[in-house]
């Protein structure tokens, strides 16, 4: 086993050359991932990297050893749900109805999009995999599917602190506040002033004199949060047809250069979110603002609307027809119903006030939650007593319950691992798939 570690670590450069010489990029994707990870090198004393014969995959008519990394007390990563673009990182092109533990390099956070995943390491390096047909993986070429994590090498000279994955585009923020985007640009969602797509991350020149803190990529639009810029802190660009850009009461088809979102002149925004045609922002005092496509039973909102609630939210995530919000007290609320039965259809009980649309997530019996995530039509949360619960649409196994059924309220997912052993558990959702990441 340890012979493997040494060989992998010492000969990584040599392997890279050899593999590049005799096979397709897919063969090398694993090596490229580990190669760009100084953190893993540091951790290698605790790591056992083994070639597991049960994890052999075939690509380009060549059988590859799938290197599994087992750590005595390391990060653990699971995925489940839609997987036909390789987005689950299992090395397979198929859906998984139950969580599968992955053997990916150590990551600090993930961003999941339509069918691709971007992983950020604590060393500020970026890996991506899944669908790449619009250049959203940032590997410098258009690939249909990337089955294994591959380093985004053009960002190697930057320390990346934040990433976001949209339907088919991606955003990256560096520690120096630079924003890079790549992928589909046909709606102007890359913010470069045109409608071109890019397969390598390109710096967004509009923000060269600003410090970007966060980027949020939706289906066809993007939001940007600036640091230390109270008067004009949130920007939007891309498709605006449902009001998701939030800068004008008029219907804006699309814009390809960032423009300031209205209504935050006197508000300190600390977080942004985008998914589908929805946009959201959280203020430092816990107010939730939403704009864009109206949640079930409500009109589209072309300007940010503050949710009329006394609750103080600490995190909010968006689906394509619903939102989840978490309070500082560990309570979970849901905005909007769901097309597919997350909560009962709310159309018949709408009143004029938006808080009527806000419901406490059912079935938690006072158990506090520690994290939330939303796919297009499913929801995931982590409870304080170490459980991951899912509900919503389940046709692709994105609920991880072993079947393709839908669930009306949260149901516990079995990972075969006691989450109480982990210091932290985070969950992430792409459109039809889910990831869970635990830290020791």
């Amino acid at each position: 086993m340890f012979g493997w570690i040494n060989r992998v670590m010492e000969e990584s450069e040599k392997l890279k050359t050899e593999e590049n010489g005799e096979s397709e990029e897919i063969t090398w994707s694993w090596g490229a991932g580990t190669d760009g990870l100084p953190l893993d090198l540091k951790d290698s004393a605790n790591a056992a990297i083994v070639a597991d014969p049960s994890f052999e995959v075939t690509a380009n008519s060549k059988t590859l050893p799938f290197v599994e990394e087992k750590k005595e007390s390391g990060d653990r990563l699971w995925s489940w749900g839609a997987g036909t673009d390789g987005q689950l990182g299992t090395g397979r092109i198929q859906d998984e109805h139950l969580p599968r533990q992955l053997s990916l390099p150590s990551v600090s956070s993930l961003a999941c999009g339509g069918a691709h995943v971007i992983a950020l390491t604590s060393a500020g390096k970026v890996l991506s995999w899944g669908r790449g047909n619009s250049g959203q993986l940032g590997h410098g070429e258009v690939v249909n599917n990337m089955l294994y994590p591959k380093a985004v090498t053009s960002l190697e000279n930057y320390f990346i602190t934040h990433v976001s994955a949209g339907w088919s585009h991606s955003g990256f923020v560096s520690d120096t506040g630079s924003l890079f985007t790549c992928g589909d640009g046909s709606f102007g969602q890359l913010g470069h002033g045109d409608h071109a797509s890019h397969c390598s991350p390109v710096k967004v020149s509009c923000f060269v004199d600003q410090h970007v803190a966060e980027v949020a990529c939706g289906m066809r639009h993007s939001l940007v949060l600036l640091k230390g810029c109270l008067s004009s802190q949130v920007y939007g660009f891309g498709s605006g047809k449902r009001g998701q850009l939030g800068f004008s009461k008029d219907k804006i088809k699309s814009i390809n250069l960032p423009k300031v979102v209205s209504g935050f002149e006197d508000v300190d925004i600390v977080g942004i979110a985008a998914n589908g045609d929805h946009s959201a922002a959280l203020s430092v005092d816990g107010n939730l603002y939403t704009w864009g496509r109206g949640f079930k039973g409500f009109e589209d909102s072309h300007l940010p609307q503050c949710l009329n609630s006394t609750l103080k939210f600490t995190k909010a995530t968006l689906g394509w027809n619903h939102a989840l919000a978490m309070t500082g007290d560990g309570e979970a609320y849901m905005l909007g119903g769901n097309h597919l039965g997350v909560l009962k259809d709310l159309r018949n009980e709408c009143s004029d006030s938006r808080e009527a649309n806000l419901k406490k997530v059912p079935g938690l019996d006072g158990i506090k939650i520690t994290d939330i995530a939303t796919g297009a039509e499913h929801s995931v949360l982590v409870t304080e007593n170490g459980e991951i619960k899912t509900w919503g649409w389940g046709e692709h196994g994105q609920l991880g319950l072993g079947d393709d059924g839908d669930q009306l309220s949260p149901v516990t997912v079995s990972l075969g691992y006691d989450l109480n052993e982990a210091a932290s558990t985070k969950v992430y959702c792409g459109s039809g798939f889910t990831f869970a990441l635990t830290k020791p």
Binding site: A82, T84, D85, Q87, G114, A115, R131, W167, S186, M219, K241, W320, H339, G375, A376, E377, W393, E395, H396, G430, S431, G432, F433
Partner: protein, 86 residues
């Protein structure tokens, strides 16, 4: 039940699939061909799941596209005339 109503102008022409497409929440694409649209079909389906959307469009826009104006004129003589008169 239709997942959503989508205007044809919000769908994207996909050369590879020879279809108009729109993102499906499963990660795949809702698809409908020009031939389907000419036939008046308004359901775009996702090949990977059970969901479908209703496409909002004018059938006439597609009838005219392949046979040029001949078909269009043949179908809407009164409209054409009205335009000329006005």
């Amino acid at each position: 039940m239709s997942y959503d109503d989508v205007e044809i102008e919000d769908m994207e022409w996909n050369e590879e699939l020879q279809s108009y497409t729109y993102p499906c929440p499963c990660g795949d694409l809702f698809q409908i061909t020009k031939e389907d649209l000419k036939l008046g079909e308004e359901i775009a389906r996702c090949p990977s799941c059970s969901l479908y959307i209703t496409v909002i469009y004018n059938m006439e826009d597609f009838l005219g596209s392949s046979d040029q104006n001949r078909t269009n004129k043949g179908l809407q003589p009164s409209k054409q005339q009205a335009v000329t008169v006005a």
